[in-house]
């Protein structure tokens, strides 16, 4: 009985989060083109619906009805599995993100947390682990296409992914040292009470601003966004690892990229900017409406990060491949390590501050 209720509750939660994420992806595909247009004195999509707001629907229809091509000589199984392999890790990370207050509601004798699907105490590790699995989707997609361009693109993307994956992991360590927990719920709760308690601004004793900068740069690189969008370097590789993909399979890679973007924004919000907490206590309102204000602040922060992604894309040119690798290994990595050392010393000297 209890198991049934728990299963139903969790499934409805997963469904709600998935629908929300996929709708956000649809909105992002439009918003990105709009924001880029606005920043470049263009209009963006205008034809479908008023102000082009039905463009995602049109895109979706187009992708569904496009011919699905599998190249001759491709490894059919891997070719069809690779998009899934890159999409699933992007979506699965949302399981540990706390979207609202850490409440426990009693539903029919079952302890139910409405605003986080599952609060596991290795949440950060879980997200990092699945983020690195996404690299398999990319490299297998490039390899199974039986095309040299795709293979080169896949290898390059994989090299980029693993070098920045490391920096993401290391930049998070400072936060983990200060919060002494890997659970995203616990990390959020440790930042309650106002923006000075957020780890970005020095909650826990030492500001993690540098770590945040490293994190956001590495995340941009890991989600393959401009200025690190080498997988799509159409001047050097035809279209990177998804050259041979068409129709819905291509859309899966696209969904994965946007899903990763949202996930990374959520993680940045939770780790450095206090998750669902308002910048001032009074903005949170009374305890009874914390769920509404919490979700509002969470969505607000995540949207700001997504806007930052668009903004970067509108501004910066693409890096060269060797510049990218050098920047990752020779600049970001030492900075992240130095940050860990400093944070560790300060956390040791002033425990509990």
């Amino acid at each position: 009985m209890d198991t049934g209720i728990r299963l139903a509750l969790t499934l409805s939660q997963i469904g709600a989060v998935m629908v929300a994420v996929l709708l956000t992806v649809a909105a992002l595909t439009l918003l990105e083109r709009k924001v880029l247009g606005w920043m470049q004195d263009r209009m963006g999509p205008m034809e479908v619906g008023p102000y082009g707001i039905l463009q995602p629907v049109a895109d979706g229809l187009k992708l569904f009805f496009k011919e699905d091509i599998i190249p001759a000589g491709a490894n059919k199984f891997m070719f069809s599995m690779a998009p899934v392999l890159s999409l699933v890790p992007a979506l699965i990370g949302f399981a540990v993100i706390p979207f609202g207050p850490d409440w426990t509601v009693d539903v029919g004798g079952v302890n139910f947390k409405p605003f986080v699907i599952t609060d596991i105490n290795i949440g950060v590790l879980y997200i990092l682990a699945f983020a690195s699995i996404g690299a398999y989707g990319i490299i297998l997609g490039g390899w199974s296409s039986n095309s040299k361009y795709s293979l080169l693109g896949g290898l390059r993307s994989a090299a980029q992914l693993i070098s920045y994956e490391l920096n993401v992991g290391l930049s998070i360590v400072g936060v983990l040292l200060l919060s002494s927990s890997l659970s995203l719920v616990a990390i959020t709760n440790a930042q309650a009470g106002g923006f000075w308690n957020w780890y970005f601004f020095g909650g826990g004793g030492f500001p993690q601003a540098v770590a945040f900068v490293v994190f956001i740069i590495s995340s941009v690189a890991e989600t393959n966004r401009t200025p690190f969008d080498l997988p799509e370097a159409e001047s050097e590789l035809v279209a990177g690892f998804f050259t041979e993909y068409s129709g819905m399979r291509f859309a899966f890679f696209f969904l994965a990229e946007y899903g990763n973007m949202i996930l990374v924004s959520c993680v940045a919000t939770v780790l450095f900017f206090g998750g669902w907490h308002a910048p001032f206590e009074f903005l949170q309102g009374p305890e009874s409406i914390h769920w509404a204000t919490g979700i509002f602040w969470f969505v607000f922060k995540v949207s700001s990060f997504l806007f930052l992604f668009f903004w970067l894309r509108a501004t910066l040119p693409r890096l060269r491949y060797d510049q990218l690798m050098r920047f990752g290994w020779k600049v970001l990595l030492p900075i992240a390590l130095a940050n860990i050392v400093l944070t560790a010393i300060i956390a040791f000297l002033f425990p509990g501050s």
């Binding site: 004195d41 209009m43 509108a314």
Partner: protein, 178 residues
């Protein structure tokens, strides 16, 4: 100076400048887009678009089939098949007139070469087609383009200048194409 540059690099000064520039465009948003199929550009009056054959005000074709346009054309767009007017051995007219617009580079040399101003350039530019063969225009099509782009037609030359000889063919005298 060295230190200043270091500090600038560390604070991503150049990137911040660029981001400021893009953000300022977002805040002072003035699109320069022309919504093309709905809004159209005002073309300059010397715009050289689609070619057309013209008529006089009584409906007579101006073309006398002299082949000078064909000779003037650098990319051999034009092909004129001229013929004598039956019963009037000194008068000629263009029996057939073809233009292969896929090759035309809109230089206007044929218009310059025409002694009777039978050719004109219009402001039409929306001639994208799915089949290239649709761009091989015959005389009827070229005359139709001329009719819709030059509604005000000239008088016949002999009526403009009384001392000019009657040298073009009356419309009714031209044998109709079957």
């Amino acid at each position: 100076m060295k230190l200043k540059e270091w500090v600038k690099t560390l604070l991503f000064y150049e990137i911040a400048l660029g981001m400021k520039a893009t953000l300022s465009h977002l805040l002072r948003y003035k699109p320069i887009t022309l919504q093309y199929p709905h809004e159209k550009k005002q073309l300059p009056s010397n715009y050289r678009g689609m070619l057309a054959l013209l008529r006089y005000d009584d409906g007579t074709e101006k073309c006398v089939g002299c082949d000078l346009c064909e000779a003037a054309c650098p990319s051999r767009v034009i092909r004129v098949v001229s013929a004598e007017v039956p019963g009037e051995p000194t008068k000629r007219y263009s029996k057939e007139y073809y233009m292969d617009m896929t090759r035309c580079l809109f230089c206007g040399l044929c218009v310059k070469a025409c002694p009777v101003d039978a050719l004109g350039m219009t402001q039409e530019y929306e001639w994208a087609v799915y089949d290239k063969r649709q761009l091989q225009l015959n005389k009827q099509q070229l005359l139709a383009i001329g009719d819709r782009n030059y509604p005000i037609r000239e008088k016949r030359l002999e009526f403009q200048h009384p001392n000019v000889a009657y040298f073009n063919v009356g419309f009714k005298d031209i044998p109709q194409k079957e």
